[in-house]
């Protein structure tokens, strides 16, 4: 992902691996998924939907059946992802990491919101 985009959109790194990552734009209230040479701009709902679809993929079934194409086509509202078995594993890791960070951020924000300001 280009440093220019990160700087101009004011992106905050949420979670990255060697295969890709997720960045948040507070200015645009959206997320950028950098994966497999492609940058996709998603809202939190779409990212959540993508995670649900990825979590449901039966990798065992996908990789063991001879007649299976070994790719999964995922259609979201404005996006289409064509992923191999190994890419699904990589993306799953990124999404799990990002959602853990979202939860952590929520816990911290929640604690800060509850602080009594004296």
């Amino acid at each position: 992902m280009s440093q220019d985009l990160i700087a101009t959109a004011g992106l905050i790194e949420v979670f990255i691996t060697t295969k890709g990552g997720i960045y948040q734009s507070d200015k645009e209230n959206c997320l950028y998924l950098n994966f497999s040479g492609k940058v996709s701009k998603l809202n939190i709902q779409s990212l959540n939907d993508l995670k649900k679809v990825i979590d449901k993929v039966d990798l065992g079934h996908m990789c063991t059946l001879i007649e299976h194409a070994d790719i999964e086509i995922i259609l979201l509202k404005d996006h289409c992802f064509v992923l191999s078995g190994i890419e699904i594993i990589y993306l799953k890791e990124i999404l799990q990491g990002a959602f853990t960070m979202f939860r952590l951020n929520h816990i911290i924000t929640d604690c800060l919101d509850r602080l009594v300001i004296s």
């Binding site: 948040q24 809202n43 979202f102």
Partner: protein, 175 residues
């Protein structure tokens, strides 16, 4: 960093999942009561058939109330798939035994969601669920009282006739 998940929805993923499961359970309940109404009608218990039609509608209303809440709070409500509905019952009494089991299962399920709300300090959903807890008091009372009629009136002679006539009149007068 903005909390985008919280901006999108008041509900946590876990609470949303539990509420969607509850939507499914209410839909399942509604379908079971409909099948009980059918069995009662086919076997000449018209009073009980009316009672179960009414119960089925109530469960459907509960389902929609939960469904609407999930959407209003910014969550994703999932329309449930319902299958494996029991359509045949051995006896008239068995229908009411199953109805009470059903209500007990629903109450337990609500208790589970409430426990999760306490854990997450989701007092908004907790306040919403209070209505259902109160409703379950009434639902369990009615189902238990219906079954009690089999003991009080008895199943011999015109017992079934009397039970069927009195089922519709069961009312919960508690606060």
């Amino acid at each position: 960093m903005k909390d985008l998940m919280r901006i999108k929805s008041l509900l946590s993923t876990e609470i949303e999942t539990l509420l969607n499961q509850q939507v499914k359970k209410e839909a399942h309940s509604s379908a079971i009561y409909l099948s009980m109404a059918s069995w009662c009608d086919r076997n000449g218990f018209d009073g009980s058939a009316d009672f179960f039609f009414k119960q089925s509608n109530e469960e459907r209303e509960h389902q929609l109330k939960l469904y609407k809440y999930i959407l209003d709070m910014g969550g994703t409500a999932i329309s449930p798939e319902i299958s494996n509905i029991k359509n045949e019952f051995g006896t008239f009494r068995e229908v009411f035994e199953d109805a009470l089991d059903q209500e007990i299962a629903i109450t337990q399920s609500f208790k589970n969601i409430v426990a999760r709300c306490h854990k997450e300090q989701d007092y908004v959903t907790l306040e919403f669920l209070n209505w259902f807890l109160k409703e379950q008091r009434e639902e369990e009372y009615i189902a238990r009282r219906a079954l009690e009629l089999f003991e009080v009136i008895g199943e011999n002679g015109t017992g079934f006739w009397d039970i069927d006539k009195n089922i519709g009149g069961i009312k919960y007068s508690g606060e």
